[in-house]
């Protein structure tokens, strides 16, 4: 009998601490699958960020450096420059990457560092209890935007994948979602493609993943997943915004 589905080698056989309906587990699996696909697990150095994804080292069976909040692209820069033969990725949330870490992501991308960034956008700060994030949609209620995000005071949600696609150093920038089997399969393909850019030394690659945070959205897992298609994708369109070898 042929085995057609199994845990990726790069993932540990452990339970995660993620809430029911959280998509981090799915995204972890897709990242691990891409590592397995290219056979890079044994030379991978992951850079964990601050937020729900800080426990990266508990789930991926790889070497990991933990970065201060928002600084993962700078830490990854140091790692990749010091060990150019390693495969380096960061895994960051929206508060981490698009608020406190804006300078680090923009400049690592602009330098064209040969790293891959997985950016999980769930429109809120998950770990700290659902505060307004730079990606929170206009009108969305959070624990620090109790009347809904007000564009005139809080600004508009930032579209990072499009923004980074403008920079000269970026080779690959895309946005995917994990709200349906079809989207998960597409996300798997795109994350693989992004990893391929680094494996072949083609430059900086970035994948934004739209994901649900049922706990902080105050929704059931099913309703939260449905919100991605109903509210997030219309503002954060899926697609590949840049694909340019040796950018």
């Amino acid at each position: 009998m042929q085995q057609v589905f199994r845990r990726p080698e790069s993932l540990k056989d452990v339970q995660t601490h993620f809430c029911p309906g959280c998509h981090h587990g799915t995204i972890h699996r897709l990242v691990a699958d891409a590592m397995d696909h290219f056979g890079v697990q044994q030379r991978t150095i992951g850079v964990a960020s601050v937020g729900c994804s800080v426990f990266l080292y508990g789930y991926f069976d790889i070497d990991v450096v933990e970065a201060p909040h928002g600084r993962a692209p700078a830490v990854a820069t140091g790692v990749k420059r010091a060990r150019p033969d390693s495969f380096v990725f960061t895994y960051q949330g929206d508060g981490d990457l698009a608020a406190i870490g804006t300078a680090e992501i923009i400049h690592a991308a602009n330098r064209g560092e040969d790293i891959t960034v997985i950016f999980v956008n769930n429109t809120t700060y998950g770990m700290t209890g659902g505060q307004m994030a730079p990606t929170t949609l206009v009108g969305q209620k959070t624990s620090t935007s109790p009347y809904g995000r007000d564009k005139s005071k809080d600004g508009s949600p930032i579209r990072m994948a499009e923004l980074l696609a403008q920079l000269g150093g970026v080779a690959f920038s895309a946005r995917v979602a994990v709200d349906s089997p079809k989207h998960v399969l597409e996300a798997k393909k795109v994350i693989r493609e992004a990893f391929g850019f680094q494996v072949e030394g083609k430059g900086f690659s970035f994948v934004e993943v739209l994901s649900a945070c049922p706990t902080n959205w105050g929704m059931t897992p099913l309703a939260a997943t449905a919100r991605i298609g109903a509210e997030m994708i219309p503002y954060f369109p899926l697609g590949v915004f840049k694909k340019e070898e040796n950018a």
């Binding site: 069976d61 990991v64 201060p68 010091a82």
Partner: protein, 355 residues
């Protein structure tokens, strides 16, 4: 015999770093230390090293964190306002026990302050600087030669104790030119970096982190760090004494001001006053015992600093009542650097008061 060079203190520190095997530099321009990144941007590429002018001081310290996590000798440099920005990263490196050298050619403050020689960042350097209750070794050179020698020493201390190490100077030490004998790196047995990430290659996973959430884990980690600081206090104190054997007044100063105080003490000796000079070279660990001994012998201590009184607190704690401690400070700013004559007058007045 080694050749003699005539270079700036900042250049000497950069040369010391290269001699110590540092091949990774991450920094951001700020006066009065920019000679360091300028020198290394020229030299590191020739040695297959990496030089990055970072987007900020925060970016630079975190690149250092990343390179150091890979087990490489790496450094950054800056000056006071930039060092403030680096404190987050220094705290994370101290927590994760990562080596790394940070050169602080400090300037005057608070705020944007000025670019003059200053010792106003003593507290920031020796009392932790960032959040979370840690210390890092702090070395205070007072010559171009020491900028070179102590930078090499800083890399060894960093690897030996798995800690960031700071070299604390100011514009006097960084910008002045003196003769330098570029001695080869001292041979010192250092532990293997069996903690460094490298891509696990089917071996045990390695994780560099400062997050400890398990019951009792973080408390144990803090006691472990504390124990390291105790070992440093026992083994790594460096100080220098001048004319202290028969001194009845012990002048205490570090870094740039110790050079001026040295001349003032020599003037006092010529005038028949038995002054001596005690210079802490390591500010953390502070040379408490050597200072206590010299101070008790003299009975009277005069602390001179380019601030309104910071190291004097550690001097008082070290002396522990065994001598009378007084203070003379010149807070930083244009025109505030004391002359040898001015310090000689301060010394002479100590004797007037005694008689």
């Amino acid at each position: 015999m080694s050749k003699r060079l005539f270079v700036k203190g900042n250049e000497a520190a950069a040369m010391g770093a290269v001699e110590a095997g540092c091949r990774y530099y991450f920094g951001y321009p700020i006066t009065p230390q920019s000679d360091i990144p300028e020198y290394l941007s020229r030299e590191l590429p020739k040695l297959d090293g990496e030089f990055i002018q970072a987007e900020s001081e925060i970016g630079a310290i975190n690149m250092l964190l990343g390179a150091s996590a890979c087990g490489r000798r790496a450094m950054t440099s800056s000056s006071s306002p930039g060092i403030s920005l680096k404190q987050e990263g220094i705290s994370y490196m101290a927590g994760a026990e990562l080596p790394g050298v940070i050169i602080n050619i400090s300037r005057s403050g608070p705020g944007l302050g000025g670019i003059d020689a200053s010792q106003a960042d003593y507290f920031q350097a020796v009392k932790g600087g960032g959040h979370g209750g840690y210390h890092i070794p702090v070395l205070a050179p007072n010559s171009v030669q020491e900028m070179y020698d102590l930078t090499m020493h800083a890399f060894d201390l960093a690897d030996l104790y798995r800690t960031p190490v700071m070299l604390l100077g100011d514009s006097v030490i960084g910008q002045m030119k003196e003769a330098l004998v570029p001695n080869p790196r001292p041979v010192r047995e250092l532990p293997e970096k069996s903690w460094a990430v490298r891509g696990k290659s089917n071996a045990e996973q390695r994780v560099v982190k400062s997050l400890f959430l398990g019951d009792g884990e973080l408390e144990a980690h803090n006691w472990h760090l504390h124990a390291k600081y105790q070992v440093m206090k026992e083994k790594e104190c460096i100080s220098e004494e001048y004319e202290t054997a028969d001194a009845d007044l012990l002048v205490v100063g570090f870094g740039s001001v110790s050079r001026i105080a040295h001349t003032a003490v020599a003037m006092a000796r010529e005038a028949g006053l038995k002054a001596g000079l005690f210079r802490p070279v390591t500010l953390f660990p502070f040379p408490e015992q050597a200072l206590q001994k010299a101070a008790a012998r003299a009975g009277k201590v005069l602390v001179v600093e380019l601030n309104t009184g910071q190291m004097v607190e550690d001097v008082r704690l070290s002396v522990a009542g065994a001598a009378k401690v007084s203070f003379y400070g010149r807070p930083p700013g244009a025109g505030s650097l004391p002359s040898p004559e001015e310090l000689f007058e301060v010394i002479r007045k100590q004797y007037d008061q005694a008689s």
